[in-house]
């Protein structure tokens, strides 16, 4: 089942690649159909998922390189379930939003996006460290091409930076994986966690994993690839990058750092929390100074991902569950904001906020949709962001109230920069005649954002199913790791 879900997009990619170059409409449809089919399968997984069970479900295990204890092992638990769902939701939306943004070499594009989905799903579902690493690196390649081929002016610079930066982190992780795998006798993650062995070299191992993951997250001060990559990427690329790729890092922190090295995690938790808090405040303050709308949203990602790391290294049930929910929330609200900014860019071919103004009057529906995403990102109660942020802050407060207090200042700052963003683009009077006669969002564009808004509202008003699906697994992770369960 999990294999099917992982490799269905790959099949789609092959199919798209086989289509004649002129059949662009067929490519779009094929990509959409395959991504939707993947989504449908993931819904089936969700329905069959047993909330009460703390271990992995739908496990598939086949020997791969037996000599070294490497296997092809997949499984899903409460920690990965919502990330898988997020991935399968985001990809159809990204594909649907590509129609305007991607005009040339569509065959390569849609094939790469589908490859990307296979890789990211693989990351979230792999239970073997070696397999995880394969998917992890594999995920890098399509994004490299998506930014490099369909990006903006400085795309080569941005994509090189993105690739080299994250690759540098991954190499450390590869070393750590090999060390753990060979000294532990197996690459099977569940077996390694169950052994609960205190690694002699747990501190350097923790660091090797952590650096790879925090670069991906990205945690301050490893964030500088993100604004460039986001700004240069085409709209759907930014959406996927923000909504799914960044989550791989946060997911890794939970799956590897917390689960494998609880002692080292406890040692480094204060440092990670401090960096997270700095990231929250720093990202917000720097976002405020941006003039490019997309860069602003990119820095807001740095700020929001800070909350997630803060929650993870609170190392209690509230913080961890809040962080997991916030990953989904961030995917929804930041993904939505990138779509919003992208649609404006497609009309005006600029992202300079100074060139807009008064857009709400000219595009009423668009303005309203944008406002909802802004509010979701601000963390307004009754929308998704608040639930995640509050639970994280509550968890962080239990762990260390000082950092929670500083982190809560991010709530003020997010209002400052996001409302400034909204005001500069949507309120006041138009500062450029080119804004006259802009057409409002069309049906396709509305269809791409409405599912995200619905999810935002559902999570904001009824978060129970989200939390209850992850509860058992999180508790189990904390218990096995011997961390405080509160």
């Amino acid at each position: 089942m999990l294999s099917v879900i992982i490799f269905l997009p790959l099949v789609g990619a092959v199919l798209v690649a086989l289509l004649p170059r002129s059949a662009t409409a067929a490519m779009r449809i094929a990509a959409l159909v395959f991504s939707l089919a993947t989504f449908a399968l993931s819904v089936a997984l969700l329905i069959g998922f047993n909330n009460a069970q703390s271990g992995y479900q739908y496990v598939e295990s086949v020997d791969w390189i037996k000599t070294y204890g490497i296997g092809y092992k997949l499984g899903m638990d409460g920690i990965s379930i919502w990330l898988v769902m997020l991935t399968t939701v985001i990809f159809p939306i990204a594909i649907l939003s590509s129609t305007e943004a991607i005009r040339d070499r569509q065959k390569e594009y849609y094939a790469l996006v589908l490859l990307m989905e296979t890789a990211t799903l693989g990351v979230f579902l792999a239970l073997d460290m070696f397999l995880f690493y394969v998917f992890w690196e594999f995920a890098l390649v399509p994004m490299y091409f998506i930014i490099g081929m369909w990006g903006g002016e400085k795309r080569i610079y941005a994509t090189m930076k993105f690739f080299v930066y994250t690759m540098a982190g991954s190499l450390l992780m590869l070393l750590a994986i090999l060390y753990v795998g060979f000294s532990g006798g197996t690459f099977d993650l569940t077996a390694l966690v169950a052994k609960n062995s205190a690694w002699a070299a747990s501190v350097p191992l923790f660091l090797a994993f952590a650096i790879a993951f925090v670069i991906k997250v990205p945690l301050f001060p490893f964030h500088s690839w993100l604004p460039d990559a986001h700004t240069e990427a085409p709209t759907p690329g930014s959406v996927i990058l923000a909504a799914v790729l960044l989550k791989m890092g946060a997911y890794g922190l939970i799956r590897f750092n917390l689960a494998l090295f609880p002692e080292a995690s406890r040692l480094f938790a204060p440092l990670m929390m401090i960096l997270a808090v700095i990231g929250i405040l720093y990202g917000a303050i720097v976002a405020f100074a941006q003039t490019d709308a997309k860069r602003l949203v990119a820095y807001s990602s740095v700020s929001h991902m800070g909350y997630i790391v803060l929650g993870i290294f609170s190392m209690n049930a509230l913080g961890l569950q809040g962080a997991l929910l916030q990953m989904v929330n961030h995917g929804i609200s930041t993904g939505g904001l990138f779509l919003i900014v992208g649609y404006l860019y497609e009309r005006r071919h600029t992202r300079e906020m100074a060139r807009f103004g008064g857009i709400w009057g000219k595009m009423p529906l668009y303005g309203t949709l944008a406002l909802l995403f802004v509010l979701s990102s601000v963390g307004l109660p009754a929308l998704n962001g608040f639930v995640g942020e509050f639970v994280i802050l509550q968890g962080a407060f239990q762990a260390n109230w000082v950092w929670a207090a500083f982190a809560s200042l991010g709530m003020i700052l997010s209002a400052v920069y996001l409302l400034t963003f909204y005001q500069k683009i949507f309120l006041g009077e138009s500062r450029d005649t080119a804004n006259d006669g802009l057409r409002d969002v069309n049906t396709r564009e509305v269809v791409t954002v409405v599912p995200l808004l619905v999810l935002a509202l559902v999570i904001g008003l009824y978060s129970l199913p989200f939390f209850s699906a992850m509860g058992a697994s999180v508790t189990n992770l904390l218990t096995v790791a011997g961390l405080a369960v509160k």
Partner: protein, 657 residues
């Protein structure tokens, strides 16, 4: 029964959904009528709850979990008791009247539909705030009313000043909200629950063990109250909030939303009573705010700015009362203030509407051109169409042009000044008496503020309604239509008689609220001395205002009599430079810091380091590549040397053996 309790929230929600999705095809009357009747229905249900269940059904848990993680369990639960019923009635009652008024006021606005969607959202959010049974759910309403405030202040967003004012309101409120949320975090860590009864039940025990934590919680919650209820130092947003349409100023920024802080402290009185240190702080901040805002209101020219500072001042009274434990007086004043201040704002709206009559063609642009913060006084000979319809210096003599508005304005003004038998007299008297008994410093500040109050409202009445018209607009002003005047009359009636809610001797509100706030919080016996003294003082100040302003303004550009105060006048006109300090010090520092971080530290420092590493690698490899000469023979030589070295190694190691 359970469903009935949430009906007041559901009605406005239904109204806003219908208006939002189908409003495009509906007429103005239908949209406004639907929105108003939904609020009216909420009022009826609240009233029905009041009469059937007496004290209210108490906790109504809908058993729909909202957030449930581990031990953190916050359901959608509502607490309907005497206090929340009082608030529900005020919110839906005043809110309903203002909805009706808005149908007339907003007539012809291109975004009429949107206005009523926001207004209904506000009523629903405010009801969530007052009906919530836990701190977190209360916070939901707390933030949502802030959102409505943001949207409605910036309703005419094509003027950037309005948008700016909305953003300022939201951000300043957010500062307070962070205090609130930290308070909530601390409450959960301390008590392990967020539901009101559960928390309150544990306060005594916790206070015995760890008193400082209760002080910390109450102080943090109070930070939230200073934001929402516009207390020092976070009051700066409220004067700017007047950029919104006048009904919004009346409903949100005078009658209901701004009183949320007082409601919250009353609701959490168990905590506050357990923390006397906090109480002192609260009382002093309230009294200082009353004093500061009252003094500033003396010098303002914008008809709505005067009322805005007056609102801040009156909120200071309520907060001071709450700080002294006089919760009943606080809620009493909240209720009477809701009536007379809503009345004053709506009447002011009627005045503005009348002033705009002449330039009807430019109505929208004029109205949306509401002055930004601390607009410079208008030039002496203002051109015909640049007349600011909100500047009192341009008015005068309106009592003959707008008789009904004049009458209701006087009623509101007298109630605000604290003249018997109007509503404000009774409630203010209770607060001042409580202060006299409990805290002389607070009493002094409140007494001076009360004197200020009478003076500035007297000044306003004289400037607006007496003398001769000082502009074409004032000379041609006309009375507003019935959709606007009927609510005015209703509110005027309430502003007159609302004192019976808690008349001395009857003390109905006191008895009514006893189950919630306890005997101790009841009002003190009527103090005839205080009442007489303040009535006389108010009369004197009203007369003083009349004497000073009756002939002070002949034309719009004349100097205000108070300019004789010199530097003090400027100090008051600029609102003690508090806002100036925020704008020019804190905001500027933030701008500078943000630019520094973004341009210097981020691009130069962090990104520079990353790129620096890249450049370093490139440079090193650039020097290493020189080794590749491209000449076959030099490669050959290298090979030979290599072979010689290897052979030499083997030979030598063999010979060493």
């Amino acid at each position: 029964m359970q469903l009935l309790v949430i009906l007041p929230i559901l009605f406005p929600l239904v109204g806003l959904l219908i208006n939002a999705f189908f409003g495009k095809h509906m007429s103005e009357g239908l949209i406004g009528g639907l929105a108003s009747s939904m609020v009216g229905l909420s009022f009826l249900v609240s009233a029905w709850l009041l009469f059937t269940s007496g004290g209210g059904p108490g906790i109504v848990d809908l058993s729909i979990p909202w957030i449930k993680v581990g031990t953190l369990d916050v359901p959608f639960g509502f607490l309907i008791d005497q206090l929340s019923l009082t608030m529900m009635l005020i919110v839906t009652g005043v809110g309903g009247l203002i909805h009706i008024y808005s149908i007339g006021y907003m007539h012809g606005d291109p975004r009429f539909q949107r206005f009523f969607v926001y207004m209904n959202l506000f009523i629903a959010s405010m009801l969530v705030l007052v009906m919530a049974d836990s701190f977190l759910l209360m916070f939901v309403g707390w933030e949502l009313v802030g959102l409505c405030s943001y949207l409605l202040i910036g309703f005419w967003f094509s003027n950037i000043h309005n948008a700016e004012a909305g953003r300022k309101a939201f951000v300043v409120n957010r500062i307070g909200d962070v205090g609130f949320i930290l308070g909530i975090l601390l409450i959960f860590v301390t008590f392990g629950t967020l539901t009101f009864p559960d928390v309150f039940a544990k306060v005594q025990a916790m206070n015995a063990v760890n008193a400082p934590v209760v002080v910390a919680i109450t102080l943090l919650l109070f930070v939230g109250a200073t934001g929402k209820s516009a207390q020092i130092p976070l009051f700066v947003w409220l004067p700017d909030a007047m950029a919104g349409p006048t009904p919004v100023s009346a409903l949100i920024h005078a009658a209901t939303m701004v009183t949320a802080g007082i409601y919250m402290m009353t609701r959490a009185h168990v905590l506050y009573v357990a923390a006397p240190d906090t109480q002192t702080v609260v009382a002093l901040v309230g009294a200082l705010t009353a004093f500061l805002a009252g003094s500033v209101a003396l010098t303002q020219f914008d008809i709505k700015k005067v009322l805005a500072y007056s609102t801040i001042s009156q909120l200071g009274f309520m907060v001071a009362a709450a700080g002294m434990g006089a919760y009943v007086s606080s809620v009493f004043h909240l209720a009477t203030h809701a009536f007379f201040k809503a009345l004053l704002f709506l009447a002011a709206g009627s005045v503005i509407h009348g002033m705009e009559h002449l330039s009807k063609g430019e109505e929208e642009s004029e109205r949306s051109g509401a002055p930004g913060p601390h607009k410079a006084p208008a030039p002496a000979h203002s051109g015909e169409h640049t007349v600011d319809p909100q500047d009192m210096r341009n008015m005068g003599g309106l009592r003959t042009r707008m008789p009904l508005t004049f009458v209701v304005y006087c009623i509101g003004g007298l109630a605000l000044a604290g003249m018997p038998p109007f509503a404000g007299f009774w409630s203010k008297d209770e607060i001042v008496s409580a202060a006299l008994a409990r805290n002389p410093l607070v009493f002094g500040l409140l007494a001076i503020s009360a004197i200020f109050t009478a003076f500035y409202i007297g000044r306003q009445l004289v400037m607006v309604f007496f003398g001769k018209p000082r502009s074409e607009e004032a000379a041609h002003a006309v009375e507003s239509g019935s959709a606007m005047t009927v609510p005015l009359v209703f509110l005027a009636v309430f502003a007159t008689i609302a004192g019976i809610l808690n008349l001395p001797g009857l003390d109905s509100l006191s008895h009514w609220l006893v189950p919630v706030v306890g005997q101790a919080a009841e009002a003190l016996p009527f103090n005839i001395g205080v009442a007489t003294l303040f009535t006389v003082l108010a009369l004197v100040m009203l007369y003083g205002a009349w004497a000073l302003y009756r002939s002070a303004y002949v034309k719009a550009g004349d100097a205000d009599p108070l300019t004789r105060l010199g530097g003090l006048y400027t100090f008051l006109l600029r609102a003690w430079f508090v806002d100036w300090f925020f704008q020019n010090v804190i905001v500027k520092l933030f701008y500078a810091g943000s630019t520094f971080l973004a341009r210097v530290l981020d691009i130069g420092g962090i990104d520079g380091t990353v790129n620096g590493v890249g450049i370093m690698v490139r440079d090193v490899s650039a020097s290493l590549r020189k080794v590749q000469t491209g000449l076959v023979r030099s490669y050959g030589l290298m090979m030979l040397l290599g072979v010689v070295l290897v052979v030499a190694y083997f030979v030598l190691s063999a010979s060493m053996r």
